[in-house]
Amino acid sequence: MMKKPIIEIKDVTKHFGNIIALGGISMDLYPGEVMCLLGDNGAGKSTLIKTLAGVHPKTSGTYKVEGKDVVDPTPEKLLHAGIATVYQDLSTIPLMSISRNFFLGQEQEIEKKWGPFKRLDFKKANKIAFDAMKEIGINIREASQAVGTLSGGERQCLAIAKAVHFGAKVLILDEPTSALGVAQSSMVLKYILQARANNLAVIFITHNVYHAYAVGDRFTILNRGKTFGTYEKNNVTTEELQEKMAGGKVIQDLSGELGEDSKNL
Protein backbone atom coordinates (compact mmCIF):
# COMPACT_ATOMS: atom_id res chain seq x y z
CA MET A 1 0.00 0.00 0.00
CA MET A 2 1.15 3.53 -0.73
CA LYS A 3 -0.55 5.11 2.25
CA LYS A 4 1.28 5.43 5.55
CA PRO A 5 0.03 3.31 8.40
CA ILE A 6 -1.63 5.18 11.24
CA ILE A 7 -0.80 2.47 13.76
CA GLU A 8 2.19 0.20 13.53
CA ILE A 9 3.14 -2.34 16.17
CA LYS A 10 6.02 -4.74 15.97
CA ASP A 11 6.83 -7.67 18.26
CA VAL A 12 4.87 -6.14 21.11
CA THR A 13 4.95 -8.20 24.28
CA LYS A 14 3.23 -7.75 27.58
CA HIS A 15 4.12 -9.67 30.71
CA PHE A 16 2.19 -9.61 33.95
CA GLY A 17 4.75 -10.94 36.40
CA ASN A 18 5.71 -14.29 34.95
CA ILE A 19 2.55 -14.57 32.88
CA ILE A 20 3.12 -13.80 29.22
CA ALA A 21 -0.13 -12.22 28.03
CA LEU A 22 1.25 -11.04 24.70
CA GLY A 23 4.18 -12.96 23.26
CA GLY A 24 5.02 -10.85 20.23
CA ILE A 25 2.28 -9.18 18.22
CA SER A 26 2.85 -7.40 14.93
CA MET A 27 0.18 -5.52 13.09
CA ASP A 28 -0.39 -2.36 11.08
CA LEU A 29 -3.45 -0.30 10.37
CA TYR A 30 -4.23 2.16 7.58
CA PRO A 31 -6.79 4.95 7.41
CA GLY A 32 -10.03 3.88 5.76
CA GLU A 33 -9.75 0.21 6.58
CA VAL A 34 -11.39 -2.13 9.03
CA MET A 35 -8.97 -4.52 10.67
CA CYS A 36 -10.65 -7.34 12.50
CA LEU A 37 -8.91 -8.87 15.48
CA LEU A 38 -10.10 -12.42 15.85
CA GLY A 39 -9.26 -14.83 18.57
CA ASP A 40 -10.72 -17.20 21.07
CA ASN A 41 -11.08 -16.35 24.74
CA GLY A 42 -7.65 -15.95 26.28
CA ALA A 43 -5.97 -15.24 22.96
CA GLY A 44 -4.84 -11.83 24.22
CA LYS A 45 -7.41 -9.59 22.53
CA SER A 46 -8.24 -7.60 25.65
CA THR A 47 -4.61 -7.17 26.64
CA LEU A 48 -3.76 -5.97 23.14
CA ILE A 49 -6.59 -3.42 23.17
CA LYS A 50 -5.57 -2.15 26.56
CA THR A 51 -1.98 -1.87 25.38
CA LEU A 52 -3.08 0.06 22.29
CA ALA A 53 -5.38 2.26 24.40
CA GLY A 54 -2.59 3.10 26.81
CA VAL A 55 -4.06 1.36 29.84
CA HIS A 56 -1.09 -1.03 30.09
CA PRO A 57 2.40 -0.02 29.02
CA LYS A 58 3.95 -2.65 26.74
CA THR A 59 6.83 -4.76 28.04
CA SER A 60 8.84 -4.70 24.81
CA GLY A 61 8.49 -4.07 21.07
CA THR A 62 7.56 -0.93 19.19
CA TYR A 63 4.28 0.95 19.06
CA LYS A 64 4.05 3.82 16.59
CA VAL A 65 1.17 6.18 15.90
CA GLU A 66 1.52 8.06 12.60
CA GLY A 67 5.14 7.07 12.44
CA LYS A 68 6.00 8.37 15.90
CA ASP A 69 6.91 6.19 18.86
CA VAL A 70 4.42 6.26 21.70
CA VAL A 71 6.29 7.14 24.89
CA ASP A 72 4.78 6.58 28.34
CA PRO A 73 1.29 5.90 27.08
CA THR A 74 -1.78 6.92 29.08
CA PRO A 75 -5.41 6.67 27.91
CA GLU A 76 -5.67 10.48 27.84
CA LYS A 77 -2.55 10.83 25.68
CA LEU A 78 -3.74 8.30 23.12
CA LEU A 79 -7.24 9.75 23.07
CA HIS A 80 -5.59 13.06 22.34
CA ALA A 81 -3.67 11.47 19.49
CA GLY A 82 -7.02 10.38 18.03
CA ILE A 83 -7.16 6.80 19.23
CA ALA A 84 -10.54 6.17 20.84
CA THR A 85 -11.48 2.91 22.51
CA VAL A 86 -15.08 1.83 22.97
CA TYR A 87 -15.36 -0.89 25.58
CA GLN A 88 -18.18 -3.38 25.43
CA ASP A 89 -20.29 -2.41 28.44
CA LEU A 90 -18.19 0.38 29.81
CA SER A 91 -18.61 3.29 27.47
CA THR A 92 -21.95 4.75 28.51
CA ILE A 93 -23.65 5.46 31.82
CA PRO A 94 -27.26 4.24 31.74
CA LEU A 95 -28.71 6.57 34.38
CA MET A 96 -27.43 9.70 32.64
CA SER A 97 -28.99 11.47 29.70
CA ILE A 98 -27.79 10.96 26.15
CA SER A 99 -26.37 14.45 25.91
CA ARG A 100 -24.60 14.21 29.27
CA ASN A 101 -23.06 10.94 28.13
CA PHE A 102 -22.10 12.39 24.79
CA PHE A 103 -20.01 15.15 26.35
CA LEU A 104 -18.85 13.30 29.46
CA GLY A 105 -15.16 13.85 30.01
CA GLN A 106 -14.97 16.26 27.04
CA GLU A 107 -17.13 19.14 28.14
CA GLN A 108 -15.00 21.95 26.65
CA GLU A 109 -17.18 22.28 23.57
CA ILE A 110 -20.36 23.04 25.50
CA GLU A 111 -18.81 25.19 28.23
CA LYS A 112 -19.97 28.76 28.26
CA LYS A 113 -18.51 31.63 30.23
CA TRP A 114 -20.75 32.55 33.13
CA GLY A 115 -19.25 35.35 35.15
CA PRO A 116 -16.04 34.00 36.66
CA PHE A 117 -17.33 30.44 36.16
CA LYS A 118 -18.14 28.18 33.26
CA ARG A 119 -21.51 26.55 32.85
CA LEU A 120 -22.65 23.86 30.48
CA ASP A 121 -24.88 24.83 27.61
CA PHE A 122 -27.35 21.95 27.53
CA LYS A 123 -29.37 23.43 24.70
CA LYS A 124 -26.32 23.18 22.50
CA ALA A 125 -25.37 19.78 23.93
CA ASN A 126 -28.83 18.37 23.28
CA LYS A 127 -28.81 19.64 19.72
CA ILE A 128 -25.37 18.24 18.90
CA ALA A 129 -26.14 14.88 20.49
CA PHE A 130 -29.56 14.69 18.83
CA ASP A 131 -28.10 15.48 15.40
CA ALA A 132 -25.23 13.04 15.83
CA MET A 133 -27.66 10.26 16.68
CA LYS A 134 -29.93 11.19 13.79
CA GLU A 135 -27.02 11.14 11.37
CA ILE A 136 -26.36 7.50 12.13
CA GLY A 137 -30.03 6.70 11.76
CA ILE A 138 -31.08 6.46 15.39
CA ASN A 139 -34.22 8.41 16.17
CA ILE A 140 -34.42 9.43 19.78
CA ARG A 141 -37.27 11.33 21.39
CA GLU A 142 -34.96 13.84 22.97
CA ALA A 143 -31.32 13.98 23.96
CA SER A 144 -32.27 14.50 27.60
CA GLN A 145 -33.65 10.98 27.96
CA ALA A 146 -31.62 8.43 29.92
CA VAL A 147 -29.20 6.22 28.01
CA GLY A 148 -30.81 3.33 29.88
CA THR A 149 -33.78 3.68 27.56
CA LEU A 150 -31.65 2.89 24.50
CA SER A 151 -31.05 -0.60 23.20
CA GLY A 152 -27.62 -2.19 23.43
CA GLY A 153 -26.86 -1.48 19.78
CA GLU A 154 -27.92 2.13 20.12
CA ARG A 155 -25.65 2.51 23.15
CA GLN A 156 -22.68 1.18 21.20
CA CYS A 157 -23.50 3.54 18.35
CA LEU A 158 -23.73 6.44 20.80
CA ALA A 159 -20.27 5.66 22.14
CA ILE A 160 -18.86 5.38 18.62
CA ALA A 161 -20.61 8.56 17.48
CA LYS A 162 -19.09 10.33 20.46
CA ALA A 163 -15.59 9.16 19.55
CA VAL A 164 -16.07 10.26 15.94
CA HIS A 165 -17.45 13.63 16.98
CA PHE A 166 -14.38 14.30 19.10
CA GLY A 167 -12.03 13.70 16.21
CA ALA A 168 -10.99 10.07 16.55
CA LYS A 169 -8.81 8.83 13.71
CA VAL A 170 -8.72 5.28 14.98
CA LEU A 171 -11.65 3.49 16.57
CA ILE A 172 -10.88 0.47 18.70
CA LEU A 173 -14.14 -1.40 19.20
CA ASP A 174 -14.07 -4.09 21.86
CA GLU A 175 -16.64 -6.78 21.07
CA PRO A 176 -19.26 -4.20 20.08
CA THR A 177 -21.69 -6.81 18.78
CA SER A 178 -21.16 -9.76 21.06
CA ALA A 179 -24.05 -9.00 23.40
CA LEU A 180 -26.44 -7.96 20.64
CA GLY A 181 -29.17 -9.55 18.60
CA VAL A 182 -29.16 -9.72 14.82
CA ALA A 183 -30.88 -6.42 14.05
CA GLN A 184 -28.88 -4.62 16.72
CA SER A 185 -25.61 -6.02 15.42
CA SER A 186 -26.32 -4.94 11.87
CA MET A 187 -26.95 -1.42 13.15
CA VAL A 188 -23.47 -1.36 14.66
CA LEU A 189 -21.87 -3.03 11.60
CA LYS A 190 -23.50 -0.48 9.30
CA TYR A 191 -22.03 2.26 11.40
CA ILE A 192 -18.57 0.70 11.21
CA LEU A 193 -18.79 0.82 7.42
CA GLN A 194 -19.90 4.44 7.60
CA ALA A 195 -16.86 5.27 9.73
CA ARG A 196 -14.60 3.53 7.21
CA ALA A 197 -16.15 5.54 4.39
CA ASN A 198 -15.13 8.66 6.31
CA ASN A 199 -11.51 7.46 6.17
CA LEU A 200 -11.33 6.36 9.79
CA ALA A 201 -9.29 3.33 10.70
CA VAL A 202 -11.19 0.76 12.70
CA ILE A 203 -9.92 -2.09 14.82
CA PHE A 204 -12.88 -4.40 15.31
CA ILE A 205 -12.42 -7.01 18.00
CA THR A 206 -14.80 -9.92 17.88
CA HIS A 207 -15.01 -13.67 18.02
CA ASN A 208 -17.89 -13.73 15.60
CA VAL A 209 -16.38 -14.54 12.22
CA TYR A 210 -19.53 -13.63 10.32
CA HIS A 211 -19.67 -10.15 11.81
CA ALA A 212 -16.00 -9.72 11.05
CA TYR A 213 -16.32 -10.94 7.48
CA ALA A 214 -19.26 -8.62 6.83
CA VAL A 215 -17.25 -5.45 7.40
CA GLY A 216 -13.56 -6.37 7.59
CA ASP A 217 -10.85 -5.61 5.02
CA ARG A 218 -8.16 -7.58 6.77
CA PHE A 219 -8.20 -10.09 9.57
CA THR A 220 -5.56 -10.64 12.19
CA ILE A 221 -5.86 -13.84 14.14
CA LEU A 222 -4.53 -14.00 17.66
CA ASN A 223 -3.74 -17.25 19.33
CA ARG A 224 -2.22 -17.66 22.78
CA GLY A 225 -0.79 -14.17 22.80
CA LYS A 226 0.78 -14.32 19.34
CA THR A 227 -0.24 -13.24 15.87
CA PHE A 228 -1.26 -16.34 14.01
CA GLY A 229 -1.42 -14.43 10.74
CA THR A 230 -3.01 -11.56 8.87
CA TYR A 231 -5.25 -12.25 5.89
CA GLU A 232 -6.80 -10.09 3.19
CA LYS A 233 -10.50 -10.52 2.62
CA ASN A 234 -10.18 -11.81 -0.96
CA ASN A 235 -7.72 -14.52 0.07
CA VAL A 236 -9.73 -16.10 2.84
CA THR A 237 -13.19 -17.50 3.52
CA THR A 238 -15.24 -17.45 6.71
CA GLU A 239 -14.65 -21.18 7.16
CA GLU A 240 -10.91 -20.74 6.96
CA LEU A 241 -11.05 -17.88 9.46
CA GLN A 242 -13.16 -19.94 11.81
CA GLU A 243 -10.69 -22.77 11.58
CA LYS A 244 -7.64 -20.58 12.16
CA MET A 245 -9.34 -18.90 15.10
CA ALA A 246 -10.00 -22.24 16.75
CA GLY A 247 -6.26 -22.88 16.48
CA GLY A 248 -6.49 -25.34 13.61
CA LYS A 249 -9.29 -27.33 15.08
CA VAL A 250 -11.96 -27.75 12.44
CA ILE A 251 -15.41 -26.57 13.51
CA GLN A 252 -16.96 -29.75 12.12
CA ASP A 253 -14.90 -31.78 14.59
CA LEU A 254 -16.20 -29.61 17.38
CA SER A 255 -19.80 -30.06 16.37
CA GLY A 256 -19.14 -33.73 16.02
CA GLU A 257 -17.91 -33.93 19.60
CA LEU A 258 -20.83 -31.87 20.78
CA GLY A 259 -23.19 -34.07 18.81
CA GLU A 260 -21.96 -37.16 20.63
CA ASP A 261 -22.45 -35.47 23.96
CA SER A 262 -25.88 -34.12 23.17
CA LYS A 263 -27.12 -37.62 22.28
CA ASN A 264 -26.39 -38.73 25.80
CA LEU A 265 -28.38 -35.96 27.39
Binding site: P75, E76, L79, T85, Y87, D89, L90, S91, T92, I93, P94, L95, M96, R100, F103, L104, G105, Q106, E107, E111, W114, F117, K118, R119, L120, N139, I140, R141, Q145, A146, G148, T149
Partner: protein, 359 residues
Protein backbone atom coordinates in the same frame (compact mmCIF):
# COMPACT_ATOMS: atom_id res chain seq x y z
CA UNK B 1 -39.48 8.48 9.29
CA UNK B 2 -41.02 8.62 12.71
CA UNK B 3 -40.55 5.63 14.93
CA UNK B 4 -43.81 4.26 16.24
CA UNK B 5 -42.19 3.72 19.63
CA UNK B 6 -41.66 7.43 20.10
CA UNK B 7 -45.11 8.28 21.34
CA UNK B 8 -45.58 11.60 23.10
CA UNK B 9 -45.11 11.46 26.82
CA UNK B 10 -47.79 12.88 29.05
CA UNK B 11 -46.89 15.68 31.41
CA UNK B 12 -47.63 13.44 34.34
CA UNK B 13 -45.37 10.63 33.26
CA UNK B 14 -42.57 13.14 32.62
CA UNK B 15 -43.00 14.55 36.12
CA UNK B 16 -43.14 11.07 37.60
CA UNK B 17 -39.69 10.35 36.22
CA UNK B 18 -38.03 13.38 37.77
CA UNK B 19 -35.90 12.49 40.79
CA UNK B 20 -37.69 15.20 42.77
CA UNK B 21 -41.00 13.45 42.28
CA UNK B 22 -41.07 11.58 45.60
CA UNK B 23 -40.11 14.64 47.61
CA UNK B 24 -42.57 17.00 45.94
CA UNK B 25 -45.36 14.51 46.56
CA UNK B 26 -44.07 14.02 50.10
CA UNK B 27 -44.00 17.75 50.86
CA UNK B 28 -47.53 18.21 49.53
CA UNK B 29 -48.65 15.15 51.48
CA UNK B 30 -47.25 16.25 54.85
CA UNK B 31 -48.55 19.78 54.32
CA UNK B 32 -52.05 18.45 53.72
CA UNK B 33 -51.88 16.19 56.75
CA UNK B 34 -50.63 18.92 59.05
CA UNK B 35 -53.09 21.47 57.69
CA UNK B 36 -55.79 19.02 58.65
CA UNK B 37 -54.63 17.89 62.06
CA UNK B 38 -52.21 20.51 63.44
CA UNK B 39 -52.97 23.58 65.49
CA UNK B 40 -53.12 26.82 63.46
CA UNK B 41 -50.11 28.07 65.41
CA UNK B 42 -47.93 25.79 63.32
CA UNK B 43 -48.54 28.04 60.33
CA UNK B 44 -48.05 31.32 62.21
CA UNK B 45 -44.78 33.15 61.53
CA UNK B 46 -43.15 31.73 64.65
CA UNK B 47 -44.40 28.27 63.85
CA UNK B 48 -43.15 28.39 60.29
CA UNK B 49 -39.73 29.61 61.40
CA UNK B 50 -39.43 26.86 63.99
CA UNK B 51 -39.93 24.04 61.51
CA UNK B 52 -37.95 25.67 58.73
CA UNK B 53 -35.05 26.03 61.18
CA UNK B 54 -35.22 22.33 61.88
CA UNK B 55 -35.38 21.68 58.14
CA UNK B 56 -32.43 23.99 57.57
CA UNK B 57 -30.23 22.09 60.02
CA UNK B 58 -30.84 18.81 58.21
CA UNK B 59 -30.86 20.56 54.84
CA UNK B 60 -27.35 21.96 55.28
CA UNK B 61 -26.07 18.42 55.83
CA UNK B 62 -28.30 16.97 53.12
CA UNK B 63 -26.70 19.06 50.37
CA UNK B 64 -23.28 17.54 51.00
CA UNK B 65 -24.65 14.08 51.69
CA UNK B 66 -26.72 14.23 48.49
CA UNK B 67 -23.79 15.10 46.23
CA UNK B 68 -21.72 12.37 47.86
CA UNK B 69 -24.47 9.78 47.52
CA UNK B 70 -24.95 10.64 43.85
CA UNK B 71 -21.18 10.16 43.55
CA UNK B 72 -21.70 6.67 44.91
CA UNK B 73 -20.44 6.94 48.49
CA UNK B 74 -21.63 7.57 52.06
CA UNK B 75 -20.19 9.59 54.89
CA UNK B 76 -21.21 8.29 58.29
CA UNK B 77 -18.82 10.58 60.12
CA UNK B 78 -20.92 13.71 59.55
CA UNK B 79 -22.46 13.66 63.05
CA UNK B 80 -19.12 13.21 64.77
CA UNK B 81 -17.68 15.93 62.57
CA UNK B 82 -20.32 18.33 63.89
CA UNK B 83 -19.29 17.65 67.48
CA UNK B 84 -15.62 17.84 66.56
CA UNK B 85 -15.73 21.10 64.58
CA UNK B 86 -17.94 22.74 67.20
CA UNK B 87 -15.48 21.89 69.96
CA UNK B 88 -12.54 23.13 67.90
CA UNK B 89 -14.23 26.51 67.45
CA UNK B 90 -15.42 26.82 71.04
CA UNK B 91 -12.18 25.71 72.68
CA UNK B 92 -10.06 27.99 70.51
CA UNK B 93 -12.37 30.97 71.04
CA UNK B 94 -13.23 30.57 74.72
CA UNK B 95 -10.30 28.71 76.30
CA UNK B 96 -7.49 30.27 74.28
CA UNK B 97 -9.04 33.65 73.55
CA UNK B 98 -8.34 33.41 69.85
CA UNK B 99 -10.56 35.70 67.72
CA UNK B 100 -13.67 33.80 66.66
CA UNK B 101 -13.05 34.27 62.93
CA UNK B 102 -9.64 32.61 63.18
CA UNK B 103 -11.16 29.74 65.17
CA UNK B 104 -13.90 29.28 62.59
CA UNK B 105 -11.55 29.30 59.63
CA UNK B 106 -9.23 26.89 61.45
CA UNK B 107 -12.12 24.54 62.18
CA UNK B 108 -13.08 24.58 58.50
CA UNK B 109 -9.53 23.84 57.42
CA UNK B 110 -9.13 20.97 59.90
CA UNK B 111 -12.56 19.49 59.10
CA UNK B 112 -12.00 19.67 55.34
CA UNK B 113 -8.61 17.99 55.79
CA UNK B 114 -10.28 15.16 57.67
CA UNK B 115 -12.86 14.94 54.88
CA UNK B 116 -10.00 14.78 52.40
CA UNK B 117 -8.42 11.98 54.40
CA UNK B 118 -11.71 10.05 54.47
CA UNK B 119 -11.96 10.35 50.70
CA UNK B 120 -8.31 9.53 50.15
CA UNK B 121 -8.58 6.33 52.20
CA UNK B 122 -11.75 5.32 50.35
CA UNK B 123 -10.31 5.77 46.86
CA UNK B 124 -6.89 4.32 47.66
CA UNK B 125 -8.01 1.25 49.58
CA UNK B 126 -11.18 0.77 47.49
CA UNK B 127 -12.90 -0.24 50.73
CA UNK B 128 -16.59 0.61 51.07
CA UNK B 129 -17.00 4.17 52.35
CA UNK B 130 -19.58 2.77 54.74
CA UNK B 131 -16.82 1.03 56.70
CA UNK B 132 -14.15 3.69 56.35
CA UNK B 133 -16.42 6.47 57.60
CA UNK B 134 -17.90 4.22 60.29
CA UNK B 135 -14.37 4.07 61.62
CA UNK B 136 -14.09 7.87 61.39
CA UNK B 137 -17.42 8.17 63.18
CA UNK B 138 -15.95 6.48 66.26
CA UNK B 139 -12.46 7.94 65.99
CA UNK B 140 -13.69 11.51 65.65
CA UNK B 141 -16.29 11.25 68.42
CA UNK B 142 -13.82 9.63 70.77
CA UNK B 143 -11.15 12.14 69.90
CA UNK B 144 -13.52 15.04 70.51
CA UNK B 145 -14.52 13.81 73.97
CA UNK B 146 -11.00 12.81 74.99
CA UNK B 147 -9.23 15.95 73.80
CA UNK B 148 -11.93 18.25 75.21
CA UNK B 149 -11.58 16.66 78.61
CA UNK B 150 -7.82 16.81 78.39
CA UNK B 151 -7.76 20.52 77.51
CA UNK B 152 -10.75 21.83 79.49
CA UNK B 153 -11.67 19.10 81.98
CA UNK B 154 -15.16 19.02 80.54
CA UNK B 155 -17.01 18.08 77.38
CA UNK B 156 -19.16 21.18 77.25
CA UNK B 157 -17.80 24.65 76.56
CA UNK B 158 -20.04 27.64 77.19
CA UNK B 159 -19.56 31.37 77.03
CA UNK B 160 -19.03 31.46 73.28
CA UNK B 161 -21.43 34.40 72.87
CA UNK B 162 -19.37 36.69 75.11
CA UNK B 163 -16.07 35.56 73.68
CA UNK B 164 -17.21 36.13 70.10
CA UNK B 165 -19.27 39.29 70.56
CA UNK B 166 -18.97 41.59 67.55
CA UNK B 167 -16.99 39.10 65.48
CA UNK B 168 -17.84 39.49 61.79
CA UNK B 169 -17.55 35.83 60.85
CA UNK B 170 -19.32 34.51 63.95
CA UNK B 171 -22.32 36.69 63.16
CA UNK B 172 -22.49 35.09 59.71
CA UNK B 173 -23.31 31.81 61.44
CA UNK B 174 -25.00 32.65 64.74
CA UNK B 175 -26.72 35.90 63.85
CA UNK B 176 -30.00 36.76 62.23
CA UNK B 177 -30.68 38.02 58.74
CA UNK B 178 -33.29 40.48 57.52
CA UNK B 179 -33.65 42.06 60.98
CA UNK B 180 -34.38 45.46 59.38
CA UNK B 181 -37.14 43.95 57.30
CA UNK B 182 -38.76 42.32 60.31
CA UNK B 183 -38.57 45.55 62.29
CA UNK B 184 -40.27 47.33 59.40
CA UNK B 185 -42.95 44.65 59.12
CA UNK B 186 -43.62 45.02 62.84
CA UNK B 187 -43.85 48.80 62.51
CA UNK B 188 -46.44 48.58 59.77
CA UNK B 189 -48.33 46.01 61.82
CA UNK B 190 -47.82 42.85 59.78
CA UNK B 191 -45.84 41.21 62.61
CA UNK B 192 -47.01 41.45 66.19
CA UNK B 193 -44.90 43.27 68.77
CA UNK B 194 -44.14 42.69 72.40
CA UNK B 195 -45.12 45.36 74.91
CA UNK B 196 -41.69 46.97 74.72
CA UNK B 197 -42.01 47.47 70.97
CA UNK B 198 -39.66 44.73 69.71
CA UNK B 199 -41.15 42.39 67.12
CA UNK B 200 -42.18 38.89 68.20
CA UNK B 201 -39.81 37.57 65.55
CA UNK B 202 -36.72 39.70 65.08
CA UNK B 203 -35.25 38.00 62.01
CA UNK B 204 -34.39 34.85 60.19
CA UNK B 205 -31.61 32.72 61.63
CA UNK B 206 -28.46 32.61 59.51
CA UNK B 207 -28.69 28.85 59.21
CA UNK B 208 -31.70 29.35 56.94
CA UNK B 209 -29.59 31.57 54.73
CA UNK B 210 -26.86 28.91 54.69
CA UNK B 211 -29.36 26.21 53.80
CA UNK B 212 -30.67 28.29 50.94
CA UNK B 213 -27.19 29.29 49.78
CA UNK B 214 -25.75 25.77 49.91
CA UNK B 215 -28.80 24.39 48.12
CA UNK B 216 -28.41 26.91 45.29
CA UNK B 217 -24.68 26.19 45.00
CA UNK B 218 -25.37 22.45 45.02
CA UNK B 219 -28.00 22.78 42.30
CA UNK B 220 -25.69 24.87 40.12
CA UNK B 221 -22.75 22.48 40.51
CA UNK B 222 -24.84 19.43 39.74
CA UNK B 223 -26.97 20.75 36.91
CA UNK B 224 -24.86 23.31 35.17
CA UNK B 225 -21.18 22.45 35.48
CA UNK B 226 -18.96 19.69 34.19
CA UNK B 227 -18.32 18.72 37.80
CA UNK B 228 -21.99 17.79 38.06
CA UNK B 229 -21.58 15.63 34.99
CA UNK B 230 -18.58 13.95 36.62
CA UNK B 231 -20.43 13.38 39.91
CA UNK B 232 -23.35 11.65 38.19
CA UNK B 233 -20.93 9.62 36.09
CA UNK B 234 -18.72 8.55 38.99
CA UNK B 235 -21.74 7.26 40.92
CA UNK B 236 -23.38 5.81 37.82
CA UNK B 237 -20.48 3.65 36.66
CA UNK B 238 -17.02 4.31 37.98
CA UNK B 239 -15.10 2.16 35.49
CA UNK B 240 -16.94 3.58 32.48
CA UNK B 241 -16.31 7.09 33.78
CA UNK B 242 -12.61 6.36 34.06
CA UNK B 243 -12.62 5.07 30.48
CA UNK B 244 -14.12 8.36 29.39
CA UNK B 245 -11.46 10.38 31.14
CA UNK B 246 -13.33 11.42 34.30
CA UNK B 247 -10.97 11.86 37.29
CA UNK B 248 -13.22 9.78 39.55
CA UNK B 249 -10.81 9.67 42.51
CA UNK B 250 -10.57 13.44 42.65
CA UNK B 251 -14.34 13.74 42.34
CA UNK B 252 -14.90 11.42 45.28
CA UNK B 253 -12.30 13.06 47.49
CA UNK B 254 -13.81 16.49 46.82
CA UNK B 255 -17.26 15.18 47.71
CA UNK B 256 -15.95 13.94 51.07
CA UNK B 257 -14.45 17.39 51.65
CA UNK B 258 -17.91 18.75 50.80
CA UNK B 259 -19.70 16.72 53.48
CA UNK B 260 -17.10 17.78 56.05
CA UNK B 261 -17.62 21.40 55.00
CA UNK B 262 -21.38 21.12 55.41
CA UNK B 263 -20.97 19.49 58.82
CA UNK B 264 -18.77 22.40 59.90
CA UNK B 265 -21.33 24.95 58.68
CA UNK B 266 -23.91 23.10 60.79
CA UNK B 267 -21.54 23.13 63.79
CA UNK B 268 -20.74 26.83 63.44
CA UNK B 269 -24.42 27.77 63.21
CA UNK B 270 -25.18 25.81 66.38
CA UNK B 271 -22.16 26.97 68.37
CA UNK B 272 -22.68 30.68 67.68
CA UNK B 273 -26.46 30.50 67.97
CA UNK B 274 -26.58 28.54 71.26
CA UNK B 275 -23.36 30.07 72.57
CA UNK B 276 -21.92 26.70 73.52
CA UNK B 277 -20.37 23.55 72.13
CA UNK B 278 -20.85 20.01 73.32
CA UNK B 279 -18.70 17.05 72.35
CA UNK B 280 -21.84 14.94 72.03
CA UNK B 281 -23.54 17.20 69.48
CA UNK B 282 -24.59 15.94 66.08
CA UNK B 283 -25.39 12.42 67.23
CA UNK B 284 -27.19 10.46 64.48
CA UNK B 285 -27.23 13.48 62.18
CA UNK B 286 -25.50 11.49 59.41
CA UNK B 287 -28.51 9.21 59.24
CA UNK B 288 -30.99 12.06 59.33
CA UNK B 289 -29.16 13.63 56.39
CA UNK B 290 -29.23 10.34 54.49
CA UNK B 291 -32.97 10.03 55.22
CA UNK B 292 -33.56 13.48 53.76
CA UNK B 293 -31.49 12.63 50.67
CA UNK B 294 -33.34 9.36 50.09
CA UNK B 295 -36.73 10.97 50.65
CA UNK B 296 -35.54 13.45 48.03
CA UNK B 297 -35.45 10.67 45.45
CA UNK B 298 -31.73 9.88 45.29
CA UNK B 299 -30.69 6.27 44.82
CA UNK B 300 -28.55 4.67 47.52
CA UNK B 301 -26.56 2.99 44.76
CA UNK B 302 -25.46 6.35 43.36
CA UNK B 303 -25.68 8.07 40.01
CA UNK B 304 -29.15 9.48 40.47
CA UNK B 305 -30.73 12.24 42.54
CA UNK B 306 -31.00 16.01 42.86
CA UNK B 307 -30.05 18.62 45.42
CA UNK B 308 -33.48 20.25 45.29
CA UNK B 309 -34.96 16.84 46.10
CA UNK B 310 -32.65 16.47 49.11
CA UNK B 311 -33.60 19.91 50.37
CA UNK B 312 -37.29 19.08 50.02
CA UNK B 313 -36.56 15.86 51.91
CA UNK B 314 -35.08 17.98 54.68
CA UNK B 315 -38.20 20.14 54.63
CA UNK B 316 -40.39 17.06 55.08
CA UNK B 317 -38.16 16.08 57.99
CA UNK B 318 -38.55 19.50 59.60
CA UNK B 319 -42.30 19.68 59.11
CA UNK B 320 -42.92 16.26 60.63
CA UNK B 321 -40.38 16.66 63.41
CA UNK B 322 -41.69 20.00 64.69
CA UNK B 323 -45.23 19.76 63.36
CA UNK B 324 -45.99 16.74 65.48
CA UNK B 325 -45.84 18.86 68.63
CA UNK B 326 -48.62 21.06 67.20
CA UNK B 327 -50.90 18.03 67.02
CA UNK B 328 -52.56 15.85 69.61
CA UNK B 329 -50.09 13.06 68.76
CA UNK B 330 -47.33 12.47 71.28
CA UNK B 331 -43.97 13.42 69.76
CA UNK B 332 -42.59 10.03 70.82
CA UNK B 333 -44.16 8.82 67.60
CA UNK B 334 -41.98 11.00 65.40
CA UNK B 335 -39.36 8.34 64.71
CA UNK B 336 -42.02 5.80 63.89
CA UNK B 337 -43.41 8.10 61.21
CA UNK B 338 -39.94 8.99 60.00
CA UNK B 339 -38.98 5.36 59.53
CA UNK B 340 -42.21 4.60 57.72
CA UNK B 341 -41.81 7.60 55.43
CA UNK B 342 -38.26 6.51 54.65
CA UNK B 343 -39.42 3.05 53.69
CA UNK B 344 -42.23 4.47 51.58
CA UNK B 345 -39.88 6.88 49.83
CA UNK B 346 -37.36 4.17 49.01
CA UNK B 347 -40.03 1.91 47.55
CA UNK B 348 -41.43 4.76 45.50
CA UNK B 349 -38.07 5.91 44.13
CA UNK B 350 -37.14 2.35 43.32
CA UNK B 351 -40.18 2.00 41.11
CA UNK B 352 -39.41 5.38 39.56
CA UNK B 353 -35.97 4.20 38.57
CA UNK B 354 -37.35 1.10 36.93
CA UNK B 355 -39.71 3.29 34.98
CA UNK B 356 -36.90 5.53 33.77
CA UNK B 357 -34.86 2.64 32.53
CA UNK B 358 -37.86 1.17 30.72
CA UNK B 359 -39.54 4.35 29.53
Amino acid sequence: MADERLSEESFFSRFFKKPEFTSVVGVLGVFLVFFAIADDAMFSLEGVLSWTEQAALIGILAVGACLLMIGGEFDLSVGSMIGFSGMVMAIMTVEYGIPAWISIISAFIIACSIGFLNGYIVVKTKLPSFIVTLASLFILRGLTVAVSRMLTNQTLVGGVKDASAGDWLASLFGGEAFTGLFLYLADVGIIEKFADGTPVVTGVKMLLVWWFGLTVIGIIILRLTKYGNWIYATGGDEQASKNMGVPTDKVKIMLFVGTAFCATVFAACQVFDYGSADAQRGLLKEFEAIIAVVMGGALLTGGYGTVIGASLGALIFGIVNIGISYTAIDSDWFRVFLGMMLLGAVMLSNSVRKKIMRS
